[in-house]
């Protein structure tokens, strides 16, 4: 949240704290006319929040949960105390700014009533207005609530992100495919996996090293047997335009031979016990201290540790993963730190528990920015988070399992996070615990390819599962899913850019785009990426088909696989095979792809674009494309970017600038335009030069493909069908 907000909180707190001892605070809110509420992640639950009568309330308390349960209001790794309430007329939000343990009860006067019951009420005239009541309660702190008045979903996103910040624009590579497991054992293993991707012609951008890479779990170090020459390893990856992520957790091994520990101890940066000594808990390295990330001096010191001369063996293509930052304390209450542990300024952990992970990621991201002297955008993955974590990188849904229910729940989990600002979300592909059957693994890749953060990861004790280990057929299916992701990277990047500017979620529930369509309010097995692509991944074992709902009165949607047109609104059964990933492009949209998939995203930098123009029933379409160098802050500091707009109407496709402030030189050009829902023209002209373009028309599907306009992506032009 903004400095202004936090400083207000702190100063008020200072006054109050002198007067009162910690006491819980609570408040009730009523939403008359509302039957659907969303948000308050993180829970492994449906998108639409359930009423909690007769059960536990939703709990917000960052915890390292071992093998979490699904469809359960139990607390997980992160907390965002933001709830959205929605009905066809209005969307509202509540931001309950409190980082102490928080509980949310939800009741509704319509819960459990059938549609028939509701109608009966209405007929008899005795029907009350539907109403949802929520009760918020926090263990300590003050009541500090922001009411976000909407009225549209996009207004709520704008209002909320004006308080906490929008999603940081990730470096482009971070939107590509990540290959992780606990652990890639040594430099040979890394080289072998890296070569495997080339050998099997599967693109990937980032290989990850989990805790075993460090010397005895002493982060910022390397195990000298397994990783004797980390810089050379990183250079070899860089030669293929690939990156690496190493884990840096916030538990520091208590070891007088470990420089990081000695410095933190001598500077007094560890969290203290209530008695004033350094707090020690048990974690991966054994006995560990927990740096106090709520202390700005500690954060500044931590950030300085990512300098290339401090983090030995690091290079500019090494990025960071912050795990266990709830924080996880193996021998602590509920596997976390004691609530009476004392932070900077005398605050007890109970007062700010849910903020710890936020600050860990903040300091790490800051370190990455500093090591490049402010030039490069950071990439940091975190497990714990709070309101505002979207400003520092990506989150994932923690230690899931190789089960069909877990692939399914990843959709509502990431949708819920997107609604409260955190768009860069994903789940461990394949499932962290246990071994996926090949069908589950393939389906999970297909799901992950269409979620914002796309990383495969696995537990130490699982069988190896690189994409080529499951036979040629499955390898082909996984490769196809990953390639679809790479082809769509220009679109993903553009949607992220819009999220960065507007706060709109990247991956969004249908109701966000169709706020008046009640049928969409509870849907969480399909969703939209941006406003143009609707995805309904297959998440059932042995599925022969899926029920698809296409929203929008009078709209059309095009099946991306077959290019077949469907009228909306309608629900229909779509038959699927193992290669099916049901994706639909909205009529009236233009989606830009790069169809030359290379071995990593950086290799595709200069490659040409293909425009997919999906015509509305009125014969129009619009879309945009954001381009910059993909990794620096020059889009902000030097306005070096292109934001292009494409629009089709009156049989003319026009390219213009969507934002004249930006300028950027790109060698990329337009190789192809595919117009879905078009008739056959007599001729096609590129207007500027009056050049005739070759084309092909498929009468059966009404798909018109324009051959090689060849124009630079930064140029203004128009193409007319005559």
């Amino acid at each position: 949240f903004s400095d202004k907000v936090s400083s207000t909180v702190v100063s008020m707190w200072d006054k109050i704290k002198n007067v009162f001892s910690p006491a819980s605070v609570g408040l009730d809110f009523s939403f008359p006319g509302v039957e659907h509420v969303y948000g308050i992640p993180e829970h492994a639950d449906s998108l639409r929040l359930r009423t909690t009568e007769g059960g536990d309330p939703y709990r917000l308390f960052n915890l390292d949960v071992f093998q979490y349960e699904l469809y359960n209001p139990m607390a997980l790794y992160g907390s965002v105390p933001v709830m959205l309430a929605h009905n066809p007329q209005r969307t509202l939000g509540i931001f309950w700014l409190n980082a102490a343990e928080t509980w949310v009860d939800i009741t509704s006067n319509t819960a459990g009533k059938t549609l028939f019951g509701k109608m009966l009420d209405y007929m008899q005239g005795g029907g009350e207005t539907p109403q949802t009541d929520v009760h918020w309660m926090s263990e300590s702190g003050i009541i500090d609530v922001f009411l976000l008045l909407g009225p549209s979903p996009n207004d709520v996103f704008r209002q909320y992100t004006s308080l906490t910040g929008t999603q940081a624009l990730p470096p482009l590579f971070a939107l590509a495919y990540h290959q992780s497991r606990w652990n890639y054992n040594d430099e040979d293993d890394v080289a072998g996996v890296d070569n495997g991707f080339d050998e099997h012609d599967i693109p990937y951008d980032v290989i990850w090293l989990d805790i075993e890479h460090a010397d005895g779990k002493r982060y910022f170090t390397w195990d000298s047997n397994k990783f004797p020459r980390p810089r050379e390893m990183l250079q070899r990856l860089a030669a293929k335009k690939r990156k690496m992520v190493s884990i840096v957790d916030p538990h520091i091994k208590v070891d007088s031979g470990y420089r990081v520990h000695n410095e933190i101890r001598s500077r007094g940066f560890y969290i203290k016990t209530k008695d004033g000594s350094d707090y020690e808990g048990w974690c991966w390295p054994g006995s560990a201290g927990y740096p106090d990330f709520t202390n700005p001096e500690m954060r500044a010191w931590w950030a300085s540790m990512f300098a290339y001369d401090q983090y030995e063996g690091s290079l500019d293509n090494l990025y960071t993963w912050n795990d266990m930052n709830e924080p996880s304390v193996f021998n602590g209450p509920e596997v976390t730190i004691h609530k009476d542990a004392v932070h900077h300024g005398g605050w007890e952990n109970r007062d700010l528990h849910n903020l710890y992970g936020f600050y860990v990621q903040m300091a790490t991201a800051e370190g990455q920015v500093q090591r490049s002297r402010g030039a490069e955008r950071p990439f940091v993955l975190t497990r714990a988070f709070f309101a505002g974590s979207q400003r520092y990188g990506a989150v994932w849904t923690g230690d899931n399992a190789a089960e069909w229910d877990h692939v399914k729940i990843s959709i509502p989990m990431c949708l819920s996070l997107g609604l409260v600002g955190i768009s860069f979300c994903g789940a461990d592909i394949g499932g962290f615990f246990k071994n996926p059957e090949s069908e589950l693994l393939v389906r999970w890749y297909q799901v992950g390819a269409y979620q914002p953060f796309f990383r495969a990861h696995a537990h130490l004790d699982t069988v190896r599962r690189e994409p080529w280990l499951f036979g040629d057929e499955n390898k082909g299916l996984i490769r196809a899913a990953i390639r679809q992701r790479y082809a769509l990277l220009p679109y993903w990047y553009t949607v992220f850019y819009r999220s960065y500017r507007t706060g709109q979620p990247v991956m969004r529930p249908l109701w966000v785009e169709y706020p008046q369509d009640v049928a969409t309010f509870s849907i969480d097995d399909q969703y939209l990426i941006g406003d143009a692509l609707l995805v309904h991944p297959v998440t059932e074992e042995g599925a022969r088909g899926v029920q698809i709902y296409l929203p929008g009165k009078g709209e059309v949607w095009y099946d991306v696989g077959t290019q077949q047109k469907h009228h909306a609104p309608q629900t229909f059964y779509m038959a699927v095979t193992m290669s099916s990933i049901p994706v639909f492009q909205r009529g009236g949209s233009i989606v830009v792809r790069k169809e030359r998939v290379r071995r990593s995203s950086e290799c595709m930098r200069s490659d040409p674009y293909t425009l997919y123009v999906a015509l509305s029933p009125q014969g129009t379409a619009q879309g945009d494309l954001f381009i910059d160098d993909g990794h620096t802050f020059n889009l902000e500091s030097k306005a070096q970017y292109l934001h292009r707009r494409f629009s089709f109407s009156g049989n003319t496709l026009t390219a213009s600038s969507a934002d004249p402030k930006g300028s950027f030189e790109s060698p990329a050009w337009i190789e192809r335009v595919v117009i879905l829902g078009a008739g056959k023209p007599a001729a096609v002209f590129l207007k500027e030069t009056e050049t005739r373009l070759g084309f092909q028309h498929e009468a059966e599907t009404s798909v018109l493909t324009l051959r090689k306009p060849g124009i630079n992506i930064g140029a203004d032009w128009s193409i007319s069908l005559r």
């Binding site: 054992n185 072998g192 075993e212 047997n225 335009k241 190896r464 998939v597 290799c603 490659d607």
Partner: protein
């Protein structure tokens, strides 16, 4: 794009002047005739020749863009003069990474590649020569081992026949004494079992030569014990590597043998001493029986088509890395023990030869080890 049309007109690859578009092999060049329209190699379309290598994909099979990255399924041919010719996927043309040793795949990406074909050709020839040398030496050793094995087998079969003979007369003697020995019968049985175990574990000396150990389960690898940190210096898929010895087993074995080590005695438990000793005849019978069983067992093992692996029977090797001591007793079992104390983990007992069909004897499989947490049983694959 104009730039990309240029290669058609003149840029040719090798000094032996066969005019062909970029990325086309010599064998395929006759499909690409400048004077004629081009028909996709799958016959799916015919296009004017100036659309060949014009950086736009017209053929479903990618054959119209052999020299660009335009087709998702295309392939680029590099001549690699001095080494060997190669196809790379079209997606690697002009991606900024040097793939062909003759640098021809990067002609428009800005990256400067170095022609390494000559050097690679030289290295390859050297390696082949060395391999041939090793193979010759290996065949010589293999023949020696085969001879030894067949001799050994004959001896053992002879001994077995002898035992068979002796058994009958001993049995008669025993029958007369048996009534007096009722009380000893149960302990005797136990002793036989224990003795059997002891025998199985024993490791007679023999020359060492072995490959790598790979730990796996059902085709893919298995992790280490729960809570114990990963395979660290083991390498990918828990591979154990040793130092290089000249390999005695022929060309399939240009692998990394384990370090030399004197064979070890397996942890042998002696039969319990507390029981009253058997009379001589019974003892002889028992000894004979267990000797017979172990001989039968040994003879029943598959030591290769000509018995060339017989010399490995019962040999044990150890490998220590920074965390574990691995122990491989051939045709018996594999285990892992933490270096700094802790209990031993069974990584599998002898199962079968498990190489691919044409090289069955290149891989040994040890199965049914201790189960992994939430996973399958440990097993070990030994590459010979």
């Amino acid at each position: 794009m104009l730039l990309l049309l240029l290669p058609l007109l003149g840029a040719l690859v090798s000094a032996v002047e066969v005019k062909r578009p970029r990325g086309v092999s010599l064998t395929n060049h006759h499909f690409y005739e400048e004077s004629k329209p081009f028909t996709c190699l799958d016959g799916s379309a015919t296009i004017s020749f100036d659309q060949v290598n014009d950086d736009y994909c017209d053929c479903k099979d990618g054959s119209d863009e052999p020299g660009t990255s335009a087709c998702p399924n295309g392939r680029f041919h590099c001549t690699n003069a001095g080494y060997r010719p190669q196809y790379v996927p079209s997606s690697r043309v002009n991606d900024g990474i040097c793939d062909c040793c003759d640098t021809t795949d990067e002609y428009n990406s800005g990256v400067v590649c170095e022609n390494t074909c000559k050097e690679m050709g030289r290295k390859e020839r050297e390696t082949l020569q060395q391999m041939a040398e090793v193979a010759r030496e290996g065949f010589r050793l293999k023949q020696a081992l085969i001879d030894e094995a067949s001799k050994g087998r004959e001896e053992k079969q002879g001994k077995l026949a002898e035992l068979q003979e002796g058994k009958k007369s001993l049995e008669e003697q025993v029958e007369t004494l048996k009534t007096h020995k009722e009380a000893a019968e149960k302990p005797e049985k136990e002793a036989v079992e224990i003795h059997q175990k002891a025998w199985d574990g024993e490791c007679p000396p023999a020359p060492p030569a072995l490959g790598r150990i790979e730990r796996e389960r059902g085709g893919s690898s298995c992790r280490f014990a729960a809570g114990s940190p990963l395979a660290e210096s083991l390498g990918r898929e828990g591979r154990i590597g040793g130092t290089l010895d000249p390999n005695p087993l022929g060309p399939a074995l240009v692998q990394v043998p384990l370090p030399k080590k004197p064979p070890h005695k397996a942890t042998g438990e002696e039969p319990e001493e507390k029981m009253p000793p058997y009379d001589e005849a019974t003892q002889a019978l028992i000894d004979g029986r267990s000797l017979k069983m172990s001989l039968e067992k040994e003879i029943s093992f598959d030591f290769g088509p000509l018995g060339e692996f017989a010399y490995l029977y019962g040999q044990c090797y150890e490998l220590t890395n920074n965390e574990y001591i691995y122990r491989l007793c051939l045709f018996n079992r594999v285990s892992q023990k933490p270096k700094h104390g802790g209990s031993e983990t069974n990584l599998g007992t002898w199962g079968s030869w498990a190489g691919p069909e044409d090289q069955k004897f290149s891989v040994m499989k040890y199965e049914h080890g201790t189960g992994c947490w939430q996973g399958p049983n440990r097993s070990t694959t030994v590459s010979v």
